[in-house]
């Protein structure tokens, strides 16, 4: 069958999935965890526990701070030691709840048995409530609260649920591992989301460089026999896993500037989110665990791991457990090498959306910026059809009106332009700033209306 892909732009970085053969291991618990109140898109969560309280794993410790926000649960059992600011990954101060780990006792009503539950609840509101109360957020990177995304505004109908198993970022293997090891749960999760969205068909998209996963998911889909679920093979191409790119590839529809996927009838969820939905609905288990890859080009293959971690575990603890920071590592990244964030502070803790600790060597240090030679490679590479060189110049000139006209707000920050620039111009760094400013202008204008 033909392999699907998006229509414009894109690049082909080496996939470097060195940790793909490493089975998921359960990470032990540290002495203390620090749970961030800001691990989803939207408003900060508000703590509902006080210092000195005893909490069990899976107990709610923070409630949503707004409509777009999420519940946060204690990942461990123990005592709350402090609530206050602490440095996050990027070195910014963020509210954290510090919990001293004592034993590993889970809150009541959580099913921790491994049995697969295939019968899906009938009541749509019950499912949505479970997803909301268990703090499920999108695990593809943006951590958008899932219950909001699965509840389209009136008048909008979901025509297709797309499950994103592309994992187009080099190095990362966590999605690949769960596709292999938790296949059935992911497929049941997809069926649950189908149900919520009114029984629309579901496409599970997986990149061609994961043939084992494709075979496993196909077998599982056939075995479980939910109606309307099919697997599609995607071309290996970055950013195949971008929401808009995936919709283009699977449905051949383009989301217009400023629009949402639901405008073209699409809902895109990551496979890890599907697993979280399964656990939340069928097992009543809150989202306090996820899978992360410890990998990198300077890390020997035998030291690379895929870990099932609890949220709030310090990254330094994981790094230590995995054998310490390797020699020759000059960069540490959380997330993939294309879109991940630099780890400026190893004392930061894991959040719901953590997907990796990536050690990169000297070869990845950016070279000095040269002049633009007008080759146009950035414009060729941009999957959104923008002109990065132009946007950068407009940002430097401070021309906000022209930036909006040239759609700086549509940038998905995939980094293809910067990757393809032969003069090493930090295009994305500038466009990201421009996007922020233009979005501010647009928001201010909408607020006035």
């Amino acid at each position: 069958m033909a392999k699907l892909t998006f229509s414009i732009g894109g690049i082909h970085p080496a996939d470097s999935k060195i940790a793909r053969e490493r089975k998921i291991e359960v990470l032990p618990l540290p002495d203390r965890v620090y749970v961030s109140m800001f691990q989803h898109l939207g408003a900060m969560a508000k703590p509902v526990v006080a210092v000195g309280d005893t909490v069990k794993a899976g107990q709610i410790i923070a409630e949503p701070g707004g409509f777009i926000s999420a519940y946060i649960h204690s990942p461990v059992s123990g005592t709350v030691r402090s609530i206050g600011p602490r440095k996050d990954l990027a070195g910014f101060m963020q509210m954290h709840i510090e919990i001293e780990v004592q034993g590993d006792e889970w809150a009541e009503g959580i099913d921790l048995t491994p049995e697969l539950v295939t019968s899906i609840p009938e009541d749509r509101d019950f499912i949505l409530d479970r997803i909301k109360m268990n703090g499920v957020v999108g695990l593809g990177g943006a951590t958008f609260p899932t219950h909001v995304k699965l509840n389209p505004p009136p008048g909008k109908v979901a025509e297709c649920l797309i499950l994103n198993g592309a994992e187009c970022e080099p190095f990362l293997t966590s999605d690949f591992r769960i596709l292999l090891e938790r296949t059935d749960e992911i497929v049941v999760g997809a069926a649950i989301m189908q149900k919520v969205l009114g029984g629309c068909p579901c496409v599970i998209g997986i990149e061609e460089n994961k043939p084992e996963a494709i075979a496993a998911v196909r077998a599982s889909v056939a075995r479980l026999a939910y109606p309307g679920i099919r697997v599609e093979v995607l071309k290996k191409r970055y950013p195949q896993g971008g929401e808009k790119q995936l919709i283009d590839a699977v449905m051949h529809r383009q989301v217009k500037s400023g629009g949402l996927p639901i405008d073209v009838g699409a809902v895109v969820q990551n496979v890890a989110t599907s697993l979280a939905v399964y656990e939340a609905v069928q097992k009543n288990k809150p989202l306090v665990t996820n899978v992360l890859t410890v990998t990198g080009d300077v890390l020997p293959a035998e030291k690379q791991h895929n870990y099932l971690f609890r949220i709030g575990v310090p990254l330094s603890f994981i790094a230590q457990y995995a054998g310490g920071v390797p020699e020759g590592a000059v960069k540490m990244v959380s997330g993939g090498p294309m879109m991940g964030k630099a780890i400026a502070n190893l004392d930061a803790t894991t959040v719901k959306g953590s997907s990796s600790i990536l050690y990169l060597g000297k070869g990845t240090v950016r070279k000095a910026e040269g002049p633009c030679i007008r080759c146009g490679r950035c414009a060729d590479a941009c999957p959104m059809g923008l002109e990065p060189f132009l946007l950068k110049s407009l940002y430097k000139a401070g021309d906000l009106a022209a930036l909006e006209e040239n759609a700086a707000q549509d940038c998905i920050e995939c980094g293809c332009c910067q990757y393809s620039c032969p003069s090493y111009i930090p295009l994305l760094d500038n466009i990201r700033m421009a996007k922020g400013q233009v979005m501010g202008v647009i928001r201010a204008r909408n607020a006035k209306k």
Binding site: A90, G91, F92, V330, A342, N430, R432
Partner: protein
């Protein structure tokens, strides 16, 4: 052939004369009466169009001053009192003399004081860097060192010191227009009174973290211990959010705070003599004894 040339010249000359008459008439008919004082004031002003006064340029400044008829809302920091006196003479009004200000970099985070915890290799822009993360040191508040302030300065008064990685202000060139203050995403730069003969004392740190954390990030950070505030006899120092601030209106330049500061975060500049810390400390101790009887 020569006929063509002659005719061309004649026609163009006549056309030119006619059009010039039209233009002359239009210029007369639609002339905008402008106060000649606007031009005069504009000529007096430095003409840097820096915007330091809060207006779009020198012309806008002159325009608003003439319209208002006084100088209550107008002050040219670049020209200073000298220029303002001339402007006042043209308008025939009084001016409020202002003490000259100067840009002050409130950060001690040199490479020696503030070890780098990571290396930044993104776009060389403080704005971009500040949006991305907390910076390449343990300090969230200090100078990022990419030189946005240097780029913003029209007067060439700022330069980066390669040894410390911090910007240096050339006082003779600084006009206190405030461009650098606006350009710094961390608000490290402040406009302070230049002080008598250039003497001034200030806290060269804005780290709001608690003492131990601030100290860990930078050995010359203000740790908010409050010793300076306790020592100050003039009530000029306040400590808010773990960082001390010296009110330059109240400061009497006694330099006692500078002597007692345990981390050396307080700087005194422009003084003819170097501070004898021990002598000042002795003086404070004696005063305390007298007070306690």
């Amino acid at each position: 052939m020569s006929n063509t040339i002659i005719w061309t010249i004649v026609i163009l000359t006549v056309l030119g004369l006619l059009l010039s008459l039209v233009l002359f008439w239009v210029a007369r008919k639609f002339r905008v009466e402008e106060d000649p004082r606007i031009d005069e004031i504009e000529k007096t002003l430095p003409g840097a169009n820096c915007g330091g006064c809060g207006f779009a340029g020198c012309r806008a400044f002159a325009d608003s001053a003439v319209k208002a008829g006084n100088l209550d809302a107008n002050y040219c920091p670049v020209g200073g009192n000298e220029v303002m006196k001339q402007v006042a003479a043209i308008l025939g009004c009084e001016i409020k003399e202002a003490a000259p200000l100067v840009a002050v970099v409130r950060c001690n985070g040199s490479c020696a004081n503030r070890p780098r915890t990571n290396e930044y290799d993104g776009a060389r822009s403080c704005k971009v860097k500040a949006a991305l993360y907390g910076g390449d040191t343990g300090c969230l508040y200090g100078c990022l060192g990419c030189g946005d302030c240097v780029a913003a300065c029209q007067f060439g008064a700022l330069s980066m010191d390669p040894a410390t990685g911090l910007p240096v202000v050339d006082e003779s060139k600084c006009t206190a227009c405030g461009k650098c203050v606006a350009a710094c995403p961390k608000r490290v730069i402040e406009l302070r009174k230049k002080g008598p003969r250039g003497m001034r004392v200030y806290v060269s740190c804005i780290n709001k973290e608690k003492g131990p954390a601030a100290r860990k990030a930078c050995s010359a950070a203000c740790i908010g211990c409050g010793l300076c505030a306790k020592t100050c006899q003039h009530d000029a120092i306040t400590v808010t959010d773990n960082v001390a601030y010296i009110d330059f209106e109240k400061c009497k330049l006694c330099r006692e705070c500078e002597a007692v500061c345990p981390t050396g975060a307080i700087h005194g500049v422009g003084f003819p003599k170097e501070l004898d810390k021990e002598a000042v400390k002795k003086r404070i101790a004696e005063r305390k004894e007298v007070k306690n009887g």
